[in-house]
Symmetry: C2
Subunit: 250 residues, 2 copies
């Protein structure tokens, strides 16, 4: 992991990094004390420094003193898009323009990205936990909607270091339902009640399928691009409550 | 309004009162400062000092410095049950014992109680706001599930002084859906996902029907008797955020 730049603003240090071919960002409190790490995924089509993601990351760092890391998903942000991914994107754009249902295309595309993204997040987590300012024994959080939920569900299944997740707004494909059933970490699931692209039933089915005893779903008016800010505050409290003392079982 | 007894414990003063034939309780901070009032309704079959209600009232008073008032609904607690109400209760008990659906009986019974309870809450609110320690210009909160939601929905429609409500676990009868559509105060709606008596679809339909732009639904595993304590904390923060500065429009 190589840090390539550092800026500081209002008590938050932002460091850009690369890990092999993965570009990422790490936000940390200027005065670090032992604090949990949250991995933050970006929605499909966006990137590691998408506006909403940065606002939520800064909130977590400045109100809870957390470290927050974000990386570009395969084919997103500063990363090249493969010919196969470009075909998916074309197919998606055509369906959206024609007003056709997006579920099957989005689910297949996101599953393909997630298959590549999960091991990338695991390598990123290895590298982050090797930093002196990040506690390697502590469980970490994961947060993200749409594409980032398709990745995060599977990451939470594959990776015992994920101790809490804030997810939402994914289509209830059969493979994702199966992944949801295997999640054991506490989950806060966000369901935007008036989403124009992702049906309500998908959110209800994914919440229903989620395995952990501690799960909660917050349903808010509006589409997935307009989740009220109070949910950012609730998510921060959720991470703080669940991760405050959580460590990997010996 | 006559206060009939007063006790004090851990910084919370509990005063019992009667208002004509309505028995009630008012919990207040021992060191009062200007703070909102929350009216708390009890579930069907219980009373003004039901265990869970008292725990939530004490939490609101001791963490947020609120005043909280609770009264016995008609035919509940220390109040006589009419012959007609007794017939409803018999019918309900028989249906429950036979494992029959309860929706139509509960909805009709609760609608009848709510018709009587709404003006009682309004008179209680008049009397409470006449107390020197309660600010008469401030909007008040209302909280309660099952029967208390049937009452609270209609109270929120009839009473402009209700500025925030925490509701949940009611059957989506046609009259209640119509009331929900007329609510304008922000609502936090609780949906216990595994309720044995009240169907999920009722919760989803009532949340969907609710009028206000600011509404949120929290869905948690378990039945309505087992809403996780974190929801009590979330409700307290919801009331604080919405009611902190809310006053009746001039």
């Amino acid at each position: 992991m190589h840090f390539t730049s550092q800026t500081s603003s209002n008590g938050v240090i932002e460091r850009s990094f690369t890990l092999d071919d993965i570009p990422g960002v790490l936000w940390s409190p200027a005065l670090p004390s032992p604090a949990p790490l949250v991995l933050m995924g970006h929605p499909g089509g966006l990137h590691k420094k998408a506006e909403g993601l940065v606002a939520r990351a800064i909130h977590l760092v400045s109100t809870q003193g957390f470290h927050v890391a974000s990386i570009d998903a395969p084919g997103h942000g500063d990363r090249p898009r493969s010919a196969e991914d470009a075909r998916w994107v074309d197919q998606l754009m055509r369906a959206r323009a024609a007003g056709e249902p997006l579920g099957s295309i989005v689910s297949a595309f996101n599953a393909s990205i997630a298959e590549r993204a999960v091991p990338e997040w695991q390598r990123t987590l290895d590298a982050l936990q090797a930093l002196p300012e990040i506690d390697e024994d502590r469980l970490v959080g994961y947060s993200g909607m749409t594409l980032a939920t398709e990745i995060g569900m599977r990451l939470a299944v594959a990776e015992p270091r994920i101790g809490a997740a804030v997810l939402g707004s994914a289509f209830a494909s059969e493979p994702l339902i199966e992944a949801a059933q295997l999640v054991t970490a506490p989950v806060l699931y966000l369901l935007p009640w008036d989403d124009l692209e992702i049906d309500r039933e998908s959110g209800l089915a994914l919440f229903d399928a989620l395995g952990p005893a501690e799960k909660v779903m917050h349903v808010t008016p509006g589409p997935h691009q307009r989740v009220p800010w109070v949910e950012t505050e609730d998510a921060a409290r959720f991470f703080t409550r669940v991760l405050a003392t959580a460590t990997l079982a010996a």
